[in-house]
Amino acid sequence: MEKNFERFAKLAKIYFEKEEIADFEKDFLKILEFVRKLEELNLKDVKPLSHPLDLENVEREDKAKEFGDEKLKEKLKESFCEKKGDFLKVKKIL
């Protein structure tokens, strides 16, 4: 399981210290056992329900537009962890 837990930690992009893993894994297995209760049910012809309301997708034209609110724009930029001028600075991906 240890390998598996590490796989999910990696997928979730959360760093765990080696010595933390056993503890998390123990709780994880307990919770997993608990949610396995659903296996008792026969759900063969049941349609999955992802949302409580019958909503239709709201769509808009895929068109770039000017972000009008200059004050808000400045505030959003203030939250950037790293920036260069008007740009959000991120680490190299490739």
């Binding site: 837990f5 999910f8 930690a9 990696k10 997928l11 979730a12 992009k13 959360i14 760093y15 765990f16 998390f24 709780d27 994880f28 307990k30 919770i31 997993l32 608990f34 949610v35 396995r36 209760k37 659903l38 296996e39 008792e40 049910l41 759900l43 049941v46 349609k47 999955p48 329900l49 992802s50 949302h51 409580p52 309301l53 909503l55 709201v58 808000l72 505030k75 959003l76 203030e78 939250s79 950037f80 962890c81 790293e82 959000l88 991120v90 680490k91 190299k92 991906i93």
Partner: protein, 463 residues
Amino acid sequence: MIENLTIENFLEKLKNKEFSAKEFFEKLFEKIEKEDKETGAFLSLNRKGALKEAQKIDNLISKKEKLPPLAGVPCAIKDNVLVEGLKCTAGSKILENYVAPFDATVIKKLKEAGAIVVGKTNLDEFAMGSSTEYSAFKITKNPHDHEKVPGGSSGGSSAAVAKNFSLFSLGSDTGGSIRQPAAFCKVVGLKPTYGAVSRFGLIAFASSLDQIGPLTKNVRDCELVFEIIKGKDILDSTSVEIEKKFEEKKEIKVGIPKEYLVEGIEPKVKEAFDKAVKKFQEKGIKFEEISLPHTEYALPCYYIVACAEASSNLARYDGLRYGNFCEGVDVFDTYSKTRRLFGKEVKRRIILGTFVLSAGYYEAFYLKAQKVRRKIKEDFKKAFEKVDLIFTPVSPTLPFKIGEKITDPLKMYLSDLFTVSVNLAGLPAISIPIENLPVGLQIIGDSFSEAKIFRVAKLYDRD
């Protein structure tokens, strides 16, 4: 001064000039600064901003201008709802220094109605918890018994109302996070129908379950606040306008699901529930036993759905656009070290969510849970063909001791046994305090039937 006030009383006294808004707020902050050291309801206060707004209300009064419906009413806001210019931490280290750049729609509406934000209240980190102990910053104590938890995750909001630090609060409810703390602190709390209140500006936990709602001293105040915050919002495409009108009926029939009053319920809770039912019977409400057969599957179903959505929603905390950030050697290292700042419970839920959505497990867990969700919704649909409302207790237990359940996540999850089905089905439900105990009566209605819930709940209002 604020002790026995409801919103209605406050407005009357303010208009009659028994006090000025500014005077009121000065005294209120004095009280909070003295008493909240012990309770720990607030994460931050808005003293300067509130006094400025109070002065504006006083100016309106002296000019004899028309007052907005919540003129000068002090409110406390759960710290996962954005209030422009104030910190919004969601109880997490990852957002420790985050300042909200705009108002949530509910805040915009409250401000337009004249309400004044006193401060931001404590919560379990990202609203994940049932005791407010999972906050990264502080413990909130139950105002009626300092050794006990106030409930959660909106524990700061419920404690603030119970301690008279505000006349109402806003909380958010994903699986019981308004109703259970309302019950534990002996106040009223409403989880509206999914879509009734805009979620724009609420820090997302599980988007198909989250709803913002009021916590108040009585049902009338609850209705008053709900009427102001509800409605369709162009910024939340899942919000809808309530069109359903409440038809006055001669006889209201209430169902009591037999699955809720079985094992695991504390005798004191059961006793209080039975006594409350009797009081409603005396007021002419008819009761009958009903069945919600998938009740025992609601909690496992909820944890799969909520964690799956949380793992996706919380992917945004990558240390780039906002929040705290830990420098790593490359982009992956930066993400994973930044996300290490999440607390233990949040990490547990993200990992579970990642697991149930991952290739190879998606069908066995997530898809299955979505099917169970339909069964749960259908159970309620069938029930509401027979009855107008459903009564259950809010929580199977009385408030528990601080520290009692914190090391056992499953034990903590069981606190939500009676509340999660309502979120899965998207229904409205209120918690009202009964028998002067920290026990809540849950009144569940069909979608968009808040008016009917209020009408019946008011039969039990304290004053």
